[in-house]
Structure formats: C-alpha cells, structure tokens
Symmetry: C6
C-alpha cells in the first residue's frame, strides 16, 4: 500500500521556513499513505479543516516532523 | 497550499521568553497552513478558546515546538 | 496576543523538583497565552480538574515540558 | 498551587526497573499537582482505571517521563 | 502475544524515502501486534481510513517512528 | 501500587526486533501498573482491540517506548 512517489529526497533544507514547509508536506503525505484515494481525501479535508480539535491535532504532527527536520539541519545555525 | 509568508527566519532567539513566544507563533502558523481562511480561523477560535480539552491539546503543541527551539538555542545557557 | 509578562527567565533550576514546578508553570502559561481572560480560565478550571481524561492530557504536557527542562539542566547530574 | 512536597530528589536510579517506577510516580504527581484534593483523586481513579482510552493515555505519559529518566541515566549502560 | 515475524532487521535505510516507508510499516506492525487477527484488522481499516481524526492520529505515530529512524540514519547526511 | 515484578532488567536488546518487542511489553506493563487487576485487564482488552482509535493510541505509546530503546542501543549500529 506504499505510494510509489518519492516525496522525500532529503531532510536538508536551505532555510528554516522551508523546513516548516517540508514538515507540513510530510504530515500530508503520511495521511495520503493511509488513505490513498485522492478523491476521498479531498472530500475528507472539509471534515477537519473546520474542526478545531483536528486542526490542533494536525499541528501536533507538524511539530514532531519539524523537530526531526530541525535536528537534521542542526537548527540552521551558521 | 503553502502560505507564501516567511514567518520563521531563524530558530535562534535572544531569550527563553522569546523562545516561548516563537513556539506559540509556530503552533498558530501550523493551524493557519491547514485552514488558510483567516475569517474562518477567527470564527473557529471561539470554539477552542473555551474548550479546556482543546486548550490542553494546544499547550501540547507549544511544548513540542518549544523543545525544538530550546535545543536550537542550547537552552540559552551562557 | 502575546502576554507581556516575562515568566521564563531561564530553563536552569537548582533542583529537579524545581524543574518539575517550572514544567507545570510553563504548561499553565501556554494555556493562558491562548485563553488570555483570567476570569474565563478560572471558570474553566473546574471543567478539567475533575475530568480524568483532561488531567491525563495535562500531565502529558508537563512530561514534555519537563523533558526539555531536564535536558537543559543536564539532568541535574553533579 | 504547587505541592510543597519534594517528590523528585534525583532522576538517577539504580536500575531500569526503578526508572520505570519513577516515571509512573512522576505521572501521578503531575495529576496531583493539578487536582490537589486527594479525596477527589481517589474518587476519580475509578473513572480512568476501567476506561481503556484513558489507561492508554496514561501509559503515554509514562513513556515520555521514562524517556527523560532513561536519558538521565544514560540508559543504565555500564 | 508477540508476532513471531521478524519485520525489523535494521533501522538503517538507503534513503530518506525508505525511512518514511519503514516508519509507516512500523506503525502498522504495532497495530498488528495488539490486534493479531488479520481479518479483523482488514474489517477495521475501513473505520479509520475515512475518519480524519484517526488518520491524523496515525500520522502522529508515523512522525515519531520516523524521528527514531532519522536519528538512526544520522538524517542521511552524506 | 507498584508491581513488585521486575520486568525491565535492561534496555539493551540483541536485535532491533527484540527492541520492538520490549517496547510493546513496556507499554503493556504501564497499563498493568495502573490497572493492577489482571481479570479486569483481560475483560478490558476486548474494548480496545477492536477500537481503531485506541489501537492507534496504543501504537503511539509503542513508538515512544521504542524510541527510548533505540537510543539506548545506539540504533543497533554495528
């Protein structure tokens, strides 16, 4: 049931902001890996986009994914 | 669906208190990245601001984001 | 919507017990940052103080905040 | 609203098993810090001790607290 | 009640993408370890595959498992 | 209310698979520490074994416990 798409070539990003965007992408790709039907996901997005408890739960995933990415990039410290 | 705004230039903050404030900002920006409609977010804020379970869940995100920021700043140890 | 109060001067505490107390304080301050109305928070406290699911969720925040503080203090190892 | 009891003198334990027990104790003390009334806690314990969702959530706290303790003890590696 | 199957030979993967796939696999194997009946799991998959709250919770597991794998691989930094 | 059983002698395991099994065991022992009545636990297991939300929550505990074990074993890197 794995997606054949390569969506994560590297954890290294040029900037912290790109690190945030990668974290958001990884969270979305995880959901896509479990619910592989794009039409269903589009229909379901309305369910959680206006449910604050689920928005908060989504932000929690982003926080963990971002932590991993930040560690990979040594916090983008020059 | 990414926001084009650059809201995270650096994880480095001058003080721990600013680290807390950055963690709170990142949690809010994650929610904004999923629900991009500012009017909707304003309407939804009433839902979670008086729901203790959701307040607690929000504090959990802040804890994880702050952990990342604290690690980035080497805990602001002089 | 940030509180102007400086409640986190340092992550460094003299003892592990003070580290626990700081973790509890940080968890409370996160909730206060989202629900800034002190009267509302007082009214809401009754909701979660007798709801075991929410007590458990609160303890989870404390665990994460404490982990950060413990790392900052190098686990108070002499 | 802090307990005046010193329940955490050190994160260092002689054995991994004692590390587990300390993690369980810390999780309980967090709940006690929020709901300081011992009689109420005793009454509430029945609520979560037979609610599998809450038992699972409690085990999640223990996992995080134990992770901190394990790191403090360098995993009890000789 | 342990599965006798060896599904984790190593945390080391050739690429970050394979690290993602391993994280997803580990999350699934955890669920299989608790609910060992494959027929029941197949029947249950419909329950969570269209429940956004559960999809989000699943993505949270993947985030934590991936963090471990990323650390194991030193973030696939050359 | 501590179990007198020593179930964790060491975090060090010979293989990653054994690390997974130890993580699952620790998650179960945490639940047993809170609900010490084995008969009750047996009765309750039916509740969560067919509730996908709870299966997912259980997998989350395993992920965190496994992260600790993986760190202890330096990811079983030779």
């Amino acid at each position: 049931m794995q997606n054949s798409e390569i969506y994560l070539e590297s954890l290294i990003t040029a900037t912290p902001q790109e690190g945030r965007e990668l974290a958001i992408k990884l969270a979305r790709k995880s959901i896509a890996a479990i619910q592989t039907d794009a039409e269903k996901r589009k229909a379901l997005r309305a369910n959680y986009a206006e449910d604050t408890a689920q928005l908060i739960a989504s932000a929690q995933i982003i926080a963990v994914e971002f932590q991993t990415i930040a560690m990979a990039n040594n916090y983008w410290k020059s």
